[in-house]
């Protein structure tokens, strides 16, 4: 399977990005300090964005950076800073209940096995990566054409969630 002559720069870049992304993702879950978790979450987002760039979908990549790395991660960092009331090094520990820990780990392992098995056993046709990136125009066409209702619904969802978030976070004013 592994053929050194077919190994290209593209593959090397992929392996590096994927490795960094996965390490950062492990960091999110395993680091005991939630600030570090949040920062490595940002690194994961950037890694996923890099994966998108490598897939020649620059638009999604840029959106990924803009929305996830630029906005969502800031929200998370703010929330973390607002909600810290114990020492930072103990903010993101795994659950104390061993049963839950083992059950979670076991289920995750089984799930991963099932997924890997599914990917491995599927007969993938020899597919080539589409290298053209005219996706911005096509995305615009699709978004405001066939999927316009979904687009509107997403807009309304965002509006509703913004208002909801503000109201919930503000809390009830005690008179």
């Amino acid at each position: 399977m592994f053929n050194i002559s077919a190994f290209s720069l593209y593959d090397a870049v992929f392996i590096v990005i994927a490795g960094v992304t996965l390490l950062a993702a492990l960091g999110v879950v395993l680091l005991p300090n939630i600030i570090y978790s949040a920062l490595s979450l940002i690194l994961t987002f950037l890694g996923v964005a890099a994966i998108f760039f490598q897939l020649n979908s620059g638009f999604i990549g840029v959106i990924q950076i803009l929305v996830y790395a630029g906005a969502i991660s800031i929200l998370i960092l703010f929330a973390v800073m607002l909600l810290m009331n114990i020492e930072p090094g103990r903010t993101n520990l795994p659950t104390t209940r061993l049963k839950a820990l083992f059950a979670g780990g076991g289920i995750t392992a089984m799930f991963l096995t099932a997924l890997i098995a599914a990917i491995g056993f599927t007969k993938w046709p020899q597919l080539q990566l589409i290298t053209t990136d005219n996706s911005v125009e096509m995305l615009a066409e699709a978004m405001l054409g066939d999927y316009v209702i979904a687009f509107e619904a997403a807009a309304i969802l965002l509006l509703a969630s913004v208002i909801g978030a503000i109201l919930i976070a503000k809390g009830v004013q005690e008179k």
């Binding site: 839950a100 059950a103 979670g104 099932a114 054409g145 316009v148």
Partner: protein, 625 residues
């Protein structure tokens, strides 16, 4: 200019809408500017309408322009929107824009003191925009949208003085009553979409006549007719229109006499291809129209409120138009719509002028001798009344005559007699109003004063129109109107001098009777009232329709509530109790799995998903193997 306006006819409804938006958003603080903007925009729309009409009527038989664009498209649903410019819509455009312009000019004087001056003009503009949009729609879907917009504008305008409980209630009543009709209308539209796959008039006009399954088409046509029934206030749904007079009088003139209530008639004319292929529906329309005409005319005989008399008269005339549609005389119906729009708005504006002069007094018995102080109002009002009564050669004569002729020629003799009788009643109650209010002996009218020029000018213009509009479909002008506005399925009989003469005589008889009773006082109206006390009571109370509705509502709602109460207690409640007991028992047993830990729930969820994945994989493997 004409080349420009045809593809850009959307400007006609758009301009008033722009006016509405400007007033509502920016300039409502300056009432005078608001009024000016509103009038300027509707006036421009009027000029555009004239241009459109000149283009449409330049070809024999009328040119038809249709412009369609795709509004939104996705797999399985295509929604078009478009403009339809044909003689029918051109006539309606002119009627709506001209009367709206005059009414808005008139309102400068009438609404002068009102604190809501600017918002009044905003509503007026919005109404004009929606009405014009309705007229220009080329499909049922778009039309329905504007139909509802018109309804909401009517609601706003009836309830314009929402501080008065009566105005508020009238607005709600109008809205709710219209909902009943609109619900049926919407159902009809949906059925059309399901059956024919299109809502465009052009597409339906081809498809409907070839469709033979009457068991489907009859209910669809009747459902569609429910919309006009509500909007044009036909018999069971008529109750809102008289109450709608709580709104400002120019509103009554524009909306509840000339334009919005005519939308129902317009719809029937627009969808004539559907109704005319369903004879049963035609009969229903004719009977309901005729009945409404008679029913409302009789009520109008005994009303004392000047606006209510006119309101019932409007009802009656709308019934007339519907009757014309029903007997197949589509041309006559549309013609009557056009002429009626002019003289009825004239009458309403005249009534408004009187009310304005009398400082809000609406009871005709408290007026009198107005003709000395208000000559312009009086004489224009009389012209309008003569036109309504059908005195030749005023406009009402020609159109009313055509309707009677249509009823006669299509063999509906009963309806013909009914129509002639209604014409008699019309002449009578209109001149009862005139003799009592304008020439009566009461001294109250002495304090009146003529309205300012900004109010009398529209009256004069409308009076001129009321005299001359009728000629477009008279034998003198070779029935020009009918040449453009007709339908192959409609009937267009040759004029008959017998019917003309008889109907004129009937009208004159009505006027003479009114003169005898109310002016000459040869017959005491009080004596008549005493003699026919029962009937008078019945008419005075509008056949107790409102009370009837209220009573029926109470009986049915209360009765149904009784039944449901029993059902609820003995069936549903028992079942629910059973469920509750079951739930309680099972909850007692199962509660120990619910430990309040979100993650445990997530764990169960993922485990379930995992089981599904494994089962599916095994199934797939077994299929392959």
């Amino acid at each position: 200019m004409i080349e420009f306006i045809l593809p850009n006819a959307w400007l006609i409804p758009f301009l008033p809408f722009l006016g509405f938006a400007l007033i509502a958003l920016f300039i409502h603080r300056w009432p005078k500017i608001s009024a000016g903007v509103s009038i300027a925009f509707i006036g421009t729309a009027f000029i555009f309408s004239l241009l459109v009409a000149s283009a449409v009527f330049s070809e024999p038989g009328g040119a038809v322009y249709e412009f369609t664009t795709r509004w939104l498209e996705m797999s399985g649903l295509k929604v078009d929107m478009g403009l339809l410019l044909d003689p029918l819509s051109a006539v309606m455009l002119i009627v709506v824009t001209s009367i709206a312009t005059l009414v808005q000019i008139y309102s400068i004087g009438y609404m002068k003191e009102d604190p809501g001056f600017a918002s009044y003009y905003a509503y007026q503009s919005l109404f004009a925009a929606s009405m014009l949009g309705l007229v220009l729609s080329n499909n049922f879907g778009q039309m329905f949208v504007f139909w509802e917009l018109v309804g909401i504008c009517s609601y706003f305008l009836i309830g314009f003085w929402f501080g008065l409980p009566s105005a508020k209630n009238a607005a709600i009543k109008a809205f709710v009553t219209n909902r009943v009709g609109d619900f049926g209308f919407l159902l009809g539209i949906l059925f059309l979409q399901i059956i024919f796959g299109t809502l465009a008039f052009s597409g339906l006009a081809e498809a409907v006549p070839e469709y033979t399954n009457m068991a489907v088409l009859v209910p669809v046509a009747l459902l569609l007719f429910l919309g006009p029934m509500g909007k044009s206030a036909q018999f069971p749904l008529h109750v809102w229109l008289p109450d709608a007079m709580e709104g400002p009088t120019p509103v009554s003139a524009l909306i509840h006499a000339a334009t919005m209530v005519a939308a129902g008639v317009y719809l029937v004319a627009r969808a004539f291809f559907i109704f005319s292929s369903v004879p049963e529906a035609m009969t229903v329309i004719a009977v309901i129209g005729g009945f409404t005409a008679l029913f409302a005319a009789t009520i109008a005989l005994v009303q004392n409120d000047i606006k209510r008399i006119l309101a019932y008269s409007t009802l009656s005339q709308l019934g007339y138009m519907m009757m014309a549609m029903g007997v197949g005389a589509m041309t006559a119906g549309m013609f009557h719509l056009t002429t009626h729009a002019f003289f009825k708005s004239l009458l309403f504006l005249g009534a408004g002028s009187v009310i304005h002069a009398m400082a809000g007094e609406q009871d005709i018995w408290k007026m009198g001798n107005l003709h000395k102080k208000m000559p312009v109002t009086t004489w224009t009002f009389i012209i309008g009344a003569l036109a309504l009564a059908g005195i030749p050669p005023l406009s009402g004569f020609w159109s009313k005559d055509e309707i009677l002729l249509g009823a006669f020629a299509s063999g509906h003799y009963g309806l013909y007699i009914l129509g002639a009788f209604v014409a008699f009643l019309t002449a009578f109650y209109m001149f009862r109003l005139i003799f009592v209010a304008f020439f009566g002996s009461n001294k109250e009218g002495e304090h009146a004063h003529e309205s300012p020029g900004v109010m009398t000018m529209p009256l004069i213009i409308l009076a001129v129109a009321a005299v001359f509009v009728g000629f477009v479909n008279s034998p003198f002008m070779h029935h020009v109107f009918g040449e453009f506005i007709n339908h192959p399925m409609g009937i267009q009989p040759h004029p008959s001098s017998m019917i003309m003469i008889s109907s004129s005589l009937i009208a004159v008889a009505g006027i003479v009777l009114a003169w005898l009773i109310y002016q000459k006082q040869a017959i005491s109206h009080l004596a008549i009232r005493e003699r026919f006390k029962g009937i008078h009571q019945l008419l005075q109370n509008k056949y107790y329709m409102d009370e009837f509705y209220a009573r029926m509502g109470q009986i049915f709602v209360y009765g149904a509530a009784q039944v449901m109460f029993w059902f609820d207690i003995h069936v549903i409640n028992a079942f629910v109790d059973l469920l509750a007991r079951f739930t309680g028992k099972s909850g007692d047993t199962l509660k120990y799995t619910e430990d309040g830990q979100v993650q445990n729930y997530a764990l169960y969820m993922v485990a379930g998903a995992l089981i599904l994945v494994v089962v599916a994989t095994m199934a797939a493997v077994s299929v392959i193997a």
